[in-house]
Subunit: 204 residues, 2 copies
Amino acid sequence: MTEHRATAPSAGASTATRGRRADAERNRAAIITAATAVFAERGGEVDVREIARRSGVGMGTLYRHFPSKEDLLRLSLEQEFTAWLTEAHERAAATQDPWQALSGFFEQVLTTQAHNRALMDSYVQTGGPTEACVQKCRAFIDALRERCEQAGLLRRGVSTEDLLSLSASLCQVVQTPGGQHRWRRLMTVSLDGLSSRHPEPLPS
Amino acid sequence: MTEHRATAPSAGASTATRGRRADAERNRAAIITAATAVFAERGGEVDVREIARRSGVGMGTLYRHFPSKEDLLRLSLEQEFTAWLTEAHERAAATQDPWQALSGFFEQVLTTQAHNRALMDSYVQTGGPTEACVQKCRAFIDALRERCEQAGLLRRGVSTEDLLSLSASLCQVVQTPGGQHRWRRLMTVSLDGLSSRHPEPLPS
DNA sequence: GGGCAAGCGGAGCAACCGCTCCGCTTGAAC
DNA sequence: GTTCAAGCGGAGCGGTTGCTCCGCTTGCCC
């Protein structure tokens, strides 16, 4: 309840940079930057004090800008996830072969998530940090699936949800001991199991 | 340091039921039973007070019998894991077809783990609750792998560790929303990707 | 430069959790 | 029945974590 009271009485304060003092703006940015780094390194369960320390502000300042730790985490992850999904779109658009586009996506999931604990946790558990993010991701995967299916490369009966779940489960492998040297092998296994080389459709 | 001082001065007090009062013995059993149930339901991070409540004893009694929550968890999981692995051995011995033995094991992993949070967590993270358990499990999986390989059913280059990691990663699927209706499909995908139907060996 | 609202920092509150301490109770040996 | 060590329960300690409160500082407008 300390947030958006802005200078102008109108609108929903979309960019929300209005009417904030210069130092406040700097602090806000520093907090998001630090939070993003800390969450990536240690996951979403870090002590808020660590984020305050790393961004060089006090607890009061942190909570003036963000109503709760949960909100800060969500905002940070939304940002990262959106950028990540944009990159995925670009890569897919630049790839001719539908199957290569799909397997390229799996690879991007796994390489990115390997370096971002909090992002990975949210991907593994629900598919993304927010419902909106998950929807966008699902839509993207669905397009990849469609392309592969039309080209007759995908096994019959494979759903979008299957692809999401499978990529998420492989994320898990990455962070087990020795996982860094193993995820690519298991990704190959999974993708091969998804290919139309298997004439039997998946059981419903 | 309150533990084994037994009546007899000899031996390592293997079953450790010696020289304990009847009520103490009852309480000890009640605690393990309750702990096993609670850990299965809610995972290894439950409040110790919950276990004390469910077993009908006070905190003092709980800590008289078990030096730490970690020890109680380990003991409970060791017990469950051992029983589970014994069942796996029996099933495998009773199954003629090597490939069916392997896929039967995957199925057992996933059905069991679906109802046991703490056990699943330990399986996902390291392969079992203790190093000894993991070794036994690895040895068992290695025997399954060997059987499949000798029968020419397994894709070349698949290691024991791969099978352990893959089954663990599928555990993750089980506890995501909708996972109960999806893990069997993804298990099929994974197993098919592991079959010798794929002539290309796994990349090293 | 002066005035003051916006902003700041961090001590501290409340809730939680693993574990301990100690006065009371009780099983069992005689 | 008496005795007493073994056993019991739960209040409470110490540490952690999310969040708040409030006295002090500072950017901005004149």
